[in-house]
């Protein structure tokens, strides 16, 4: 029972990274029909951004949490305007190659600068554990989980309670109908891309105090996140978040009971979901 709760908690913490990353991928895919293969690299840059701010400017975690996502969101906005946008009218393959290329360039630049060793980051805003007798929950992990839940809720409010959110949801679901309403959906393409990038960067900053910060950290994680997005339903914002937390937890529990499957459980789950619901759990299949 102890290990069950401990694992479930660890799973939710992993899930909070999946959810933040999948959420960004989902809004970007929904709005641009681009699978952003640079998403893992942005997460990595987020973590290195925190390291760099601490090393070179002496700015701690809170500064990083504020500045790094904003800076990377601006960089993402520029990349969208200058590069990705020009390819949107072409075959999606072009943006697949472009974002994949951006990911490789980022990863190699980091490797040139920092090597492939993990960088220390000792700036966790909270340390120690909540000791509940039978098991312990590290405070920073609790903080991460809480913050990512808050961010996901805030995005949900933004999407459902604001006019911009309504437009973005409409544009994701029925782009042509929305435009036929006279709504200029194109205006929101670049900001949504920047927003998704900012979420990935935020996840990266959150990871810095608790994960090994190295140039490969995003590449490993993002493959799981792609599986999460597919399970949740490509382009389904709600599905991506739910699937993120659920899969984080299921994978962790799977590890506990079926250690042999630890590397494959997520993909098995993906295969099963796709067999039963080809559009993913919350994806749309039929045309209404």
């Amino acid at each position: 029972m102890t290990s069950f709760l401990q694992q479930a908690f660890n799973g939710l913490v992993s899930g909070s990274f999946y959810a933040l990353l999948a959420l960004g991928l989902a809004v970007i895919f929904g709005m641009l029909r681009v699978v952003n293969f640079a998403h893992g690299a942005i997460y990595t840059l987020g973590a290195f951004g925190a390291v760099w701010l601490a090393d070179s400017a002496g700015l701690g975690f809170w500064w990083a949490l504020l500045l790094v996502p904003v800076a990377l969101a601006i960089a993402g906005t520029l990349a969208e305007r200058l590069l990705i946008h020009r390819l949107l009218a072409l075959d999606p393959l072009y943006n697949f190659l472009l974002t994949f290329g951006i990911a490789l360039v980022c990863q190699d630049l980091l490797r040139m600068r920092y090597g492939s060793h993990s960088q220390p980051y000792e700036h966790a805003p909270v340390t120690g554990s909540f000791d509940l007798g039978l098991f312990e929950f590290p405070r920073y992990q609790v903080f991460t989980l809480g913050l990512s839940v808050v961010v996901c809720l805030a995005v949900w409010l933004l999407l459902t309670r604001t006019r911009i959110g309504t437009i973005v949801r409409a544009a994701i679901e029925r782009p042509e109908l929305t435009r036929a309403f006279g709504i200029d959906t194109g205006r929101w393409v670049t900001p949504v891309f920047g927003f998704g990038v900012g979420l990935a960067a935020l996840a990266g900053v959150l990871a810095a105090p608790m994960r090994a910060v190295n140039s490969g950290m995003g590449a490993d994680l993002i493959i799981t996140v792609f599986a999460v997005v597919v399970i949740g339903g490509l382009g389904s914002v709600f599905g991506s978040v739910v699937a993120g937390f659920t899969i984080g937890m299921l994978a962790a529990l799977g590890n506990l009971y079926f250690p042999v499957l630890s590397q494959t459980s997520v993909y098995l789950l993906m295969a099963v979901v796709l067999l039963i619901r080809p559009a993913g759990l919350f994806g749309k299949e039929e045309h209404v």
Binding site: R163, R174, A180, F181, V288
Partner: protein, 252 residues
């Protein structure tokens, strides 16, 4: 001011898809206040023409003029804001969104609310009375709170019409409004269009000849991307080339 009574004009409009000419030098003139039917066999280019008129496709050659404005190459949203509403051949609705909310969204898209960030319930209520009115007009008042995906097909089509009306269009483009409907729904839709045409111009793609006959002032027959014949229904119907190209298959 000779053109003043034409609300929609196309000049030598053409569209190529990778070398295949789907629309070839089509020059249309739609007179304000009329119902103009666009007929023709499958693949004639009717939907492509609609997409050119509404900015969803850019013409390879030629011009589109709406209410005196040259809108060639303009975006769909810009053309929509000139008072052009369209429906799609394949029903296009937000599956989980209720009928009333669809109409509300269309109503508010036409207002200056663009700068209001927070969508309060009070703000939305301003539109809900008008939304229910419009739904009533198309016979959907009872189903206002149902999500679109749960509506029967005929009602989905009616909802699309209510949405188009919510945009308060001068020019209403309907792509096969009665396709796939049972007799009863066809009659209801025909009566509905007859009612909502007042004060508007309607261009409709329609395969059902009795619908065309009862609604259309002018009929344009398209074949392989070109205008075959144009004129009043009775004349067009009697035209041997039309009977051969199109009506034959349906009427005989």
């Amino acid at each position: 001011m000779k053109q003043s009574q034409a609300i929609l004009v196309t000049r030598h409009l053409s569209k190529d898809f990778r070398g295949f000419r789907a629309i070839n030098a089509v020059s249309l003139r739609v007179v304000a206040g009329t119902v103009h039917a666009l007929v023709g066999p499958n693949g004639a280019g009717k939907t492509t023409l609609f997409n050119l008129l509404t900015g969803f496709l850019k013409p390879t050659e030629g011009h589109v003029v709406v209410a005196g404005h040259d809108v060639t190459g303009h975006s769909p949203e810009r053309i929509a804001r000139l008072g052009v509403a369209r429906s799609f051949q394949v029903t296009s609705l937000f599956p989980k969104v209720t009928a009333r909310e669809h109409v509300e969204l269309a109503l508010q898209s036409g207002t200056g609310l663009g700068r209001i960030f927070w969508r309060t319930d009070r703000l939305m209520r301003r539109f809900s009375d008008r939304a229910v009115e419009l739904l009533d007009e198309v016979g959907l008042a009872r189903l206002a709170e149902r999500p679109a995906e749960s509506l029967p097909y005929g009602q989905k089509r009616a909802l699309e019409l209510a949405i188009a009306l919510a945009l308060n269009p001068k020019l209403l483009l309907l792509d096969e409004p009665t396709a796939g409907m049972g007799l009863e729904d066809v009659d209801r839709t025909t009566a509905l269009i007859a009612r909502v045409r007042a004060g508007r111009t309607v261009v409709m793609v329609e395969h059902n000849m009795s619908v065309v006959g009862s609604l259309a002032d002018t009929v344009t027959v398209l074949q392989r991307g070109e205008v075959l014949v144009e004129g009043p229904y009775e004349e067009v119907k009697a035209e041997p080339r039309v009977i051969e190209a199109y009506l034959g298959a349906h009427v005989a």
